[in-house]
């Protein structure tokens, strides 16, 4: 019996793009309330697997079980509705919109009839302030445009958006790849805060120190396959590197 319940279970997932087999028979699971990391070399299939979970790609074979139910997402918004939020590598923020507009993008609070939906801007600004305050994110103002924010602040806004709206699982693809030392530290704190708030986090990272420091569970991918899974406290960065390169057989 496991310590806590599996929130996400990926069973025998396979996906090909034309003749390229991006994923073959991948199985892994994510426990509720934990930070789970997926590591691997470039092109190992890390991003592809999270894109399947986020509803961007549809797997050719295999099942994705989320919160006890087999899910079959066709579009990203379906994954969002189910409680899976993704912080994309490119952050998916619209630079010329304000922080609050980005936080509520395609989830605007509105009233009206049928397709005519009038925005409730005041309410959204207020809730955006609450969301930002809850995660103690250092954003100048929710009414400033994203264009005026630093890299770390943008990352914080993207994470804030993912953490809001009672999401159960937050997927992060290389959240600190483009950040400086201080900003990386802040984002890591934010990720830990997500866990303490009860969100499960699925983290893709190249930074082994970060993975060992933050995560509870590590999955290793190589050439489209999930070759090993380790509890973070039972492994070392050395072993993980060996598993990634294939020096250590899984």
């Amino acid at each position: 019996m496991s310590e806590s319940m599996d929130l996400l279970e990926i069973r025998n997932l396979s996906l090909s793009f034309g003749s390229v087999r991006a994923l073959s028979d991948v199985s892994l699971h994510v426990k509720a309330g934990e930070i789970t990391a997926i590591v691997g070399d470039n092109g190992a299939g890390k991003s592809t697997i999270v894109r399947c979970v986020a509803g961007v790609h549809r797997p050719d074979e295999g099942d994705i079980v989320f919160d006890g139910q087999v899910v079959n997402f066709v579009r990203p918004d379906q994954a969002r509705v189910a409680g899976i939020e993704t912080v994309h590598q490119n952050l998916a923020l619209v630079e010329d919109l304000t922080v609050w507009q980005n936080l509520f993008l395609n989830r605007e609070i509105s009233h009206g009839v049928g397709p005519v939906r009038f925005l409730q801007k005041k309410e959204m600004r207020k809730r955006a302030r609450d969301m930002v305050a809850k995660l103690a994110v250092n954003v100048p103002s929710v009414t400033s445009t994203v264009r005026r924010l630093s890299g770390g602040q943008r990352q914080a806004v993207a994470i804030c958006r993912a953490a809001g709206f009672s999401s159960k699982l937050v997927i992060m693809d290389e959240p600190t790849a483009a950040l400086g030392v201080q900003e990386t530290r802040r984002v890591e704190e934010l990720i830990e805060r997500l866990r303490s708030e009860g969100h499960a986090v699925l983290l893709i990272s190249h930074n082994f120190d970060q993975v060992m420091r933050l995560s509870d569970q590590v999955w290793v991918m190589r050439a489209g396959k999930c070759v090993a899974g380790r509890r973070a406290r039972d492994t070392t960065a050395q072993e993980i590197v060996g598993l990634i390169t294939g020096a250590i057989a899984a």
Partner: protein
Amino acid sequence: MTATESVGERVRVTLTRPTFWVEWASVVGLVLLVVLFTALDSTFLSAGNIRGMLLASAILTILVVGQAFVILTAGIDLSVASVMTFAAVMFGLAMTHGYGILLSCLVAFCAGAAVGLLNGVLVAKGRITDFIVTLGALSAASGTALILSDGKPITVISAPLFELSAGSVGVVPYTFMIALLIAVLAHVVLFKTKFGTHVLATGGSVEAAQATGIRTTRIKIAVYAISGSLAGIAAILLVARVGSAEPAANMTFLLNSVAAVVLGGVSLFGGKGSIKGPIFGALLLTALSNGLTLLGVSQFYQPLAVGVVVVGAAFLTRFDK
């Protein structure tokens, strides 16, 4: 003393902020032109001339609103003027076949909307470059207008239509009121509704919009449909003004619609801009040609002046990041 200094300081800060010029270029330009032309000819600001300018700007204003929506999604609609011509001919044919004024207006509107919709579907679903699709539509719509009308103007005699083009409240003609109403509606749609936010998001970053589940293909189809529909409405005003449906090219309307949107501070890369800016851009271009005519400058100089003004505006807004 300190109060005036701080006001002066604030003005200085505002004027040196690059975004100020992007947002207000068309308004400042219009004011400068009005001052210049009034100084050169006092009749420029006479009631009759103001009325004339508003009358002349109504059609362009309506086209500009549609063009603004398309450019806000980082697209471009080169077919607006030709679609208007096509819709005008359809309107004329409907009138000559005894459809009556209301039904004929509906025909014009639907003709414009249909071409716009087709543009949108080809751009969004067919994944053909907007430039090519609407360039093709420009040619196809003009050609169809020529075929349907056999290249000859269709005279349209209608009392309500005459009333529409001739009537006004004070110095404000009915047609300009229609244009203003459309502009206000467009502003509300863009900035007060969910759809408007999604238009801006699609123009700002297609990837980001899609990642949040916004169906960007639908948004793109919608903006081209809006542009086409407005060209259909503009066609009715055009026929009312000219008194006939002519299969003429109306190329100046196309160039001016893009020019007004750029003057109005809408980014050609999409995602940023307003409706009021382009409207003032349209008024500016109308005032420019009106003022030059008033001063007795040859018509040949007007396209040259428009070109200089547009590039000048682009110069003012180039710092925008």
